[in-house]
């Protein structure tokens, strides 16, 4: 494969890194993928540095010229499907099963496409998580049903808040307040129901699963800076969820 120019290589590599970081990949995976892709495109050396809020990469060619770029990453979501796709793309690039032009086209398509599921399926999924946890807590059929609804409504709030580009942790806070209110209201109407099971089910979809696992795997890999910041993100998310519930309970008692 003919080597591409430094500018072309860095365009491709930094876009791949940005997409992976935005969608919740762990730090070492982003760095390794960027390095592998740059070398596969013909760079002599590639060095990258990734933290949860930005990507830095330096690419050097055979003549010793080098080029450095950084990309700031602001809004982050979670879409593990995109990460798996870029993983696959980088593997194909390394094995020379695909050339630069095709890889760049595929990458742009991955960045744009709406993968995953739309609002209603993800509301149902969120509801299922809440309902499943209510079952694990030995909830009755009515409690499981209300937990399902609470968790689904929490997901709807996430949808609304993400459109408003709210401040961080707004969605977790509002979501847990809503779950708390639903639990209290349901228990007010039907006193035989357990308020606690409904609220626990309702807030379970707010657990910061990706932040926790990424904090762990970053720390194992030695990316201490990313590990600490992701751990802090997980801790603050849990505090936001807890505060929402505490406020509702304090008002009720």
């Amino acid at each position: 494969m003919s080597p591409s120019s430094l500018e072309e290589i860095i365009d491709l590599v930094v876009l791949a890194g940005e997409i992976m970081l935005k969608n919740g990949a762990e730090t070492s995976r982003v760095e390794q993928t960027m390095d592998h892709m740059a070398r596969a495109c013909g760079a002599r050396y590639a060095e990258s540095f990734v933290i949860p809020t930005g990507v830095f990469v330096t690419v050097t060619d055979g003549d010793g010229r080098s080029l450095t770029t950084m990309r700031r990453v602001r809004d982050r979501t979670i879409n593990l499907d995109r990460i798996a796709k870029i993983n696959e793309l980088s593997r194909r690039l390394v094995d020379s099963r695909i050339d630069y032009q095709d890889a760049f086209a595929i990458l742009k398509r991955i960045a744009k496409e709406r993968t995953g599921f739309s609002l209603v399926p993800s509301m149902i999924a969120s509801g299922t998580v809440g309902a499943g946890f209510a079952v694990l807590q030995n909830g009755s059929a009515a409690e499981v049903l209300i937990a399902f609804m609470a968790a689904a409504i929490v997901r709807y709030i996430a949808h609304v808040v993400s459109r408003l580009h709210g401040v961080r942790f707004t969605y977790e806070f509002l979501g847990s307040i809503t779950a708390g209110l639903i639990g209290v209201a349901a228990c007010y109407i039907w006193p035989q129901l357990s308020r606690d099971i409904i609220i626990v089910g309702g807030i379970l979809p707010l657990v910061p699963g990706v932040a926790i696992t990424n904090a762990i795997s970053d720390t194992i890999a030695g990316d201490l800076l990313s590990g600490i910041s992701r751990g802090l993100e997980a801790a603050l998310t849990s505090v936001a969820v807890a505060m929402g519930v505490v406020i509702v309970l304090a008002l009720q008692l």
Partner: protein, 152 residues
């Protein structure tokens, strides 16, 4: 009752997979990882094991299954870890801690809060440990013995 709970864990794993948008063809594998971890947790509880130790064993299971699946299916391990450990999250304990705190029962709140933190720590450490052990084993095999373990 147990069958109902296993079904619930299975669907929870799938639902978490949908929420975090893992590739569709992996949903089944991811939720099976969750079910096996929960079964470990359940049998630990049946044998009167400490809940913290049970959570640790279960998350160790999640971690190992996730690493094995990740290697076999050539996908990031995170895809299988997250659906696996969500059913183990000490949500009830965390909630009851807050309830005690709001009521002003600080002693009970602290005791339960400590337990919650230890369970969460045990889950995190289980995933941590399994990933580390897995990496050690792979390096050992690839290096052909302890002498070359560092080279990978």
């Amino acid at each position: 009752m147990v069958l109902l709970k296993i079904t619930a864990v299975f669907f929870m794993g799938m639902a978490v997979g949908v929420m975090y948008r893992i590739p569709r063809q992996l949903l089944l594998a991811a939720s099976m990882a969750g079910v096996s971890a929960w079964l470990v947790f359940y049998f630990a509880a049946l044998n009167h094991a400490n809940i913290i130790f049970g959570s640790f064993l279960a998350s160790l299971t999640v971690g190992f299954i996730a690493e094995l699946l990740a290697r076999r299916l050539r996908k990031p391990a995170t895809v299988f870890t997250i659906p696996g450990f969500i059913p183990l999250v000490p949500g009830r304990e965390a909630y009851t801690t807050m309830l005690h705190m709001v009521k002003g029962d600080y002693i009970e709140g602290l005791a339960l809060g400590m337990q919650t933190l230890l369970i969460a720590g045990a889950i995190a450490f289980g995933i941590f440990l399994s990933a580390t052990i897995y990496r050690l084993v792979v390096n050992y095999r690839m290096g052909g013995g302890l002498g070359h373990a560092g080279k990978n």
